[in-house]
């Protein structure tokens, strides 16, 4: 371990890089803005690497802690720390930012500096969410992250972007404000905003249930769980490719992560009490949303619904309360980060050439873009959970874990292996195979070096974690153990 404040660097390097990019000026200097952004994102990634190399795998608590007084009037601290659940997500965030910067390289021609800056700043804020151990600090990062995302969808988005972005913002804001009320309530009970203090605090059942529901409103919107998922397809469809990638790869994980960080350990009895409810919602997402995905005409919408369905696995894995399922859920979060990025980037590649996301406008693309088709088919396979890809590992672990809890949970969850394959492969068939559908498709050119690079990078990761998921489970193991131990102890006040 070094003495450098690694987490602070991980948060502030991208934010400062983003501000620097803003000062490169208008679109006349777009070229400079791009290179500064790329350099910034690479440096920002490099400063997060020590989180992995310096991590103590046997310790389940928070590492790399930093504690500074911030607002003493309310006992609020600038308190950072990361455990085995946060570290992989932080690495995923800083890595995805590089991908996003490269993916927007020549696609974005309008207000380039602002675009790049928004993603860099957002990256820093999201790492802040993953590493805050003070509730208000966490809340500040959580909400502040909405501002750049709001602008990204609204400025660079599609035709219906205003509706989509305002819906996204208000949905998230409404949920988060209730979470804020829960935090203030906990503050008045405990006199502190320290998350770790909340873990130890006894709470009566009705308090726990209300607190859990307030958290649920915030996190379920973000995950998103059925039935508060409706903002996601809109936001995904309208967002530029980079926006979709960040939304799917990271923003959704904020919700999942927060369940593990706040809702479950702070209200363990309520979590157990409401687990049936949570599992039901998760299974509805897995099965019903998969069926919804099957009938989509728009590729981005299809992937958006597929994301919701996959995130259903994550919440399912959380609430069956065993090691296998919880590990699986975390692996699923990381793997979904790679796969959904790759899927959205693939749609982006097609959209940049054809300016259409409608499946019906395509057909026989494989004839014209063989290299691209190879990647796309690989990612589609991963998305449908083919063994050997990272998509399989998480789902399989969650299904096995669910089987230990209840046969029917596992049965319903495993239908996704059928439906997931159905909607993904059917889309691939219609877009890539068959005769060349029209003269637009006939004019398609294969991917250039830049696109090849990012898709290849993701392909390596998808296959790598599919064959060898050890690095993730190694990181999470100790923390998951400790979390399950904590969850098994009741926090109800004795004698009540």
């Amino acid at each position: 371990m070094t003495d450098l404040p690694i987490l602070s660097l991980a948060i502030w390097v991208p934010i400062l890089a983003g501000i620097a990019v803003l000062f490169t000026g208008g679109d006349k200097h777009a070229h400079i803005a791009r290179w500064v952004a790329l350099a910034g994102s690479i440096v920002a990634f490099l400063v997060t690497v020590p989180l992995y190399t310096g991590f103590d795998f046997s310790y389940g608590g928070f590492q790399f802690q930093e504690l500074i007084e911030w607002i003493p009037a309310f006992n609020i601290h600038y308190h950072l720390g990361a455990d085995g659940i946060a570290v992989p997500l932080i690495l995923l965030t800083s890595f995805t930012t590089i991908i996003v910067v490269i993916a927007g390289w020549e696609v974005i021609q309008k207000r380039v500096a602002q675009y790049m800056a928004a993603f860099l700043i957002m990256s820093g804020l999201m790492i802040g969410v993953f590493s805050s151990l003070d509730a208000i600090l966490y809340y500040v990062f959580w909400e502040a992250m909405l501002i750049p995302m709001f602008l990204v969808i609204g400025i660079w988005g599609g035709p219906n972007r205003v509706y989509a972005t305002i819906k996204f913002f208000l949905y998230t804001l409404l949920g988060s404000l209730l979470m804020l009320v829960a935090f203030i309530y906990l503050f008045h009970q405990s006199g502190s905003f320290e998350v770790i203090d909340y873990y130890q605090m006894p709470l009566a059942m009705n308090e726990q249930i209300l607190i859990f529901l307030a958290f649920f409103m915030a996190f379920a919107v973000k995950v998103p769980m059925w039935p508060v998922h409706t903002w996601l397809p809109d936001a995904h469809v309208e967002a530029p490719t980079g926006g979709s990638v960040v939304l799917a790869a990271i923003a959704l994980k904020l919700g999942g992560y927060s369940f593990l960080r706040f809702a479950m350990p702070i209200a363990p009895d309520a979590s157990a009490y409401l687990s049936g409810f949570m599992i039901t919602l998760s299974l509805i997402a897995v099965v019903y949303i998969a069926l919804v995905a099957l009938v989509q005409q728009d590729m981005k919408k299809l992937i958006a619904y597929s994301s919701i369905s996959h995130m259903g696995f994550v919440t399912l894995g959380f609430f069956v309360f065993n090691q296998l399922a919880l590990d699986g859920a975390i692996v699923q979060m990381i793997s979904h980060g790679f796969i959904s990025s790759a899927m959205f980037l693939s749609v982006g590649v097609l959209y940049d050439r054809m300016h259409s996301r409608q499946i019906a406008d395509y057909g026989g693309v494989a004839n014209k873009m063989p290299k691209f088709a190879a990647f796309a088919v690989l990612f589609a396979m991963a998305n449908s959970g083919l063994p050997g890809t990272s998509g399989f590992v998480g789902e399989f672990m969650v299904i096995l874990g669910a089987l230990q809890a209840n046969f029917w949970y596992a049965f319903l969850a495993s239908t996704t292996l059928i439906f997931g394959a159905a909607y993904t492969l059917w889309m691939v068939k219609r877009v890539f195979y068959g005769e060349v559908a029209n003269h637009h498709v006939a004019e398609l050119t294969d991917i250039n070096k830049r696109e090849f690079f990012i898709l290849a990078l993701l392909a390596v990761l998808v296959l790598g974690f599919g064959l060898y998921p050890q690095p993730i489970t190694e990181l999470t193991n100790a923390t998951v153990n400790q979390l399950l131990m904590h969850l098994s102890q009741s926090k109800l006040p004795i004698g009540l």
Partner: protein, 482 residues
């Protein structure tokens, strides 16, 4: 003899502002039109001088003067310094606006200073009559300021509305005060408090008086159901006056409430608490929901003010030290946000063109990314999104209300805040997502650009480091209210 010196020394800032206001009024008669700049400089000098006097004579103790009719305590000092600062900023913002509209005259500055003097007396009044005198000095100056643009029928209409309703409210306030006098035999706030503590013969009459006083105060603050004048006056007044009404006078009205309700009538807290709750709940709902329907940005900000007053009342209705501190923090934050918001509107107005429709903000990001960014900060701050100051303002009042046990009222408030976020987002949408229609360049004096930038960035900087401002508010309240 010594007593008189002591009294005069306590009221030195007021005396200084009074002398300067009269001097400016006189000087204006002898100045040629192209030397009017001097008036502006003198007015600014007055504010700096007053700030200097207030700060240099500052003591952490509470000192009374003029037979306990006037008080100088840390609370009054903090609010007064905030008033000088806001008035200073407002005068910087409005200089070119009033110049282009033929209002760049001595009267404007003299009236602003007289209004300021009235407010300073309101902040320091310790006697019902002192308070009322300050209030009337403020109100009369404001009526004249609203109507200063004589040939504008809308401004005249606004002035008449303001005058009629304002006089009514003053009447109610006086009527309530007279009942207090009838029951307690005194108009002095400390004596009234003492009498209440000992026990008054008729609680019912006190409560009846309280109803009138609260109604009068609610009118001055602009809380529902006494909010009707706010949109019309905000809309009708020249923007240079709207910014004054929307910021500095709200500080004074808040101080007025603290003096009357919190300091004078805290014994009746059980009675006024319920009234404040009703007004807070209604203000947040009506302010936020009606603002959505507005197309005029001044009207939108008027309704936004009403909802902010609702949040302010959340702190007061908690009837705890924590609540009063939170409300003080809220009103100071509100003043900073509103100043910057109107500052941008004034910036976009130019000769023969009033930027007052929401559509005038379209594509501001293409015209000037910097000012669009500043307005973005202001809007997110008003919506209460971190890391801006507005978030901490809402956070503090909500935690005070929650501590006082109003859990469901707090949940209600955050739901309304989410509704309210919509119309602030719409402004951001217009600036960033829409294409520019009006391509004319933004011209403004350097001083205005500088002060506006500092003002808006302060929302972000204080948002990241809110502790000093919180400390000041906590100190002012806890030192002054025992």
């Amino acid at each position: 003899m010594d007593a008189i010196y002591y009294d005069l020394a306590t009221a030195l800032p007021e005396i200084f502002v009074l002398c300067m206001a009269m001097f400016i009024l006189l000087l204006d008669l002898f100045l040629k039109p192209n030397n009017r700049f001097l008036i502006h400089v003198l007015a600014q000098f007055t504010l700096i001088g007053a700030a200097f006097i207030t700060i240099s004579t500052y003591t952490p103790s509470v000192s009374y003067a003029f037979n306990n009719m006037f008080v100088d305590d840390p609370f009054s000092d903090v609010i007064k310094v905030m008033m000088y600062l806001s008035t200073f900023t407002m005068l910087v913002y409005t200089r070119s606006y009033i110049k282009l509209r033929g209002m760049f005259r001595g009267e404007f500055y003299a009236l602003v200073l007289f209004a300021l003097l009235g407010m300073m007396i309101m902040v320091s009044g310790q006697h019902f009559l002192t308070l009322y005198m300050g209030l009337e000095l403020l109100s009369l100056s404001l009526y004249a300021l609203v109507a200063l643009d004589r040939d504008n029928p809308r401004a005249t209409e606004a002035a008449i509305k303001y005058f009629v309703l304002g006089a009514l409210a003053s009447g109610m306030l006086l009527y309530g005060m007279s009942m207090f006098y009838g029951v307690t035999g005194s108009l002095n706030i400390s004596d009234v408090t003492q009498a209440l503590l000992v026990g008054v013969p008729s609680h019912a009459v006190m409560v009846l008086g309280l109803v009138f006083v609260v109604a009068g105060l609610a009118f001055k603050l602009g809380a529902v159901p006494f909010q009707m004048w706010i949109p019309d006056v905000y809309h009708g007044s020249p923007t240079a006056v709207t910014i004054f009404i929307g910021t500095v006078t709200k500080l004074a009205a808040f101080a007025f409430v603290i003096r009357l309700l919190i300091q004078g009538l805290f014994v009746l807290a059980g009675d006024w608490q319920g009234m404040l709750i009703i007004m807070a709940v209604l203000s947040i709902a009506i302010g936020n929901i009606t603002a959505i329907a507005q197309t005029n940005i001044k009207r939108m900000l008027a309704y936004s003010t009403i909802s902010h007053i609702g949040f302010l009342l959340y702190g007061l209705m908690s009837a705890s030290m924590n609540g009063y501190i939170s409300s003080t923090f809220y009103i100071v934050s509100y003043t900073m946000m509103t100043l910057a918001g109107f500052g941008v509107i004034l910036l976009l107005s130019r000769h023969g063109f009033e930027a007052e429709n929401l559509s005038d903000l379209k594509g501001l990001n293409q015209r000037s990314p910097w000012y669009a960014f500043l307005m973005l900060i202001v809007m997110f701050s008003m919506a209460g999104v971190p890391p801006t100051l507005g978030f901490y303002a809402k956070f503090t009042v909500l935690q005070a209300a929650l501590q006082a046990g109003f859990v469901w009222l707090v949940v209600y408030a955050v739901l309304m805040a989410a509704i309210g976020a919509f119309y602030y987002l719409r402004v951001v949408k217009l600036m960033y997502f829409d294409d520019v229609e009006d391509k004319s360049p933004i011209v403004a004096p350097f001083s205005m650009r500088l002060v506006l930038s500092i003002n808006a960035l302060a929302l972000l900087v204080v948002g990241l480091m809110p502790q000093p401002l919180m400390n000041i508010c906590a100190y002012a309240i806890s030192r002054s209210l025992q």
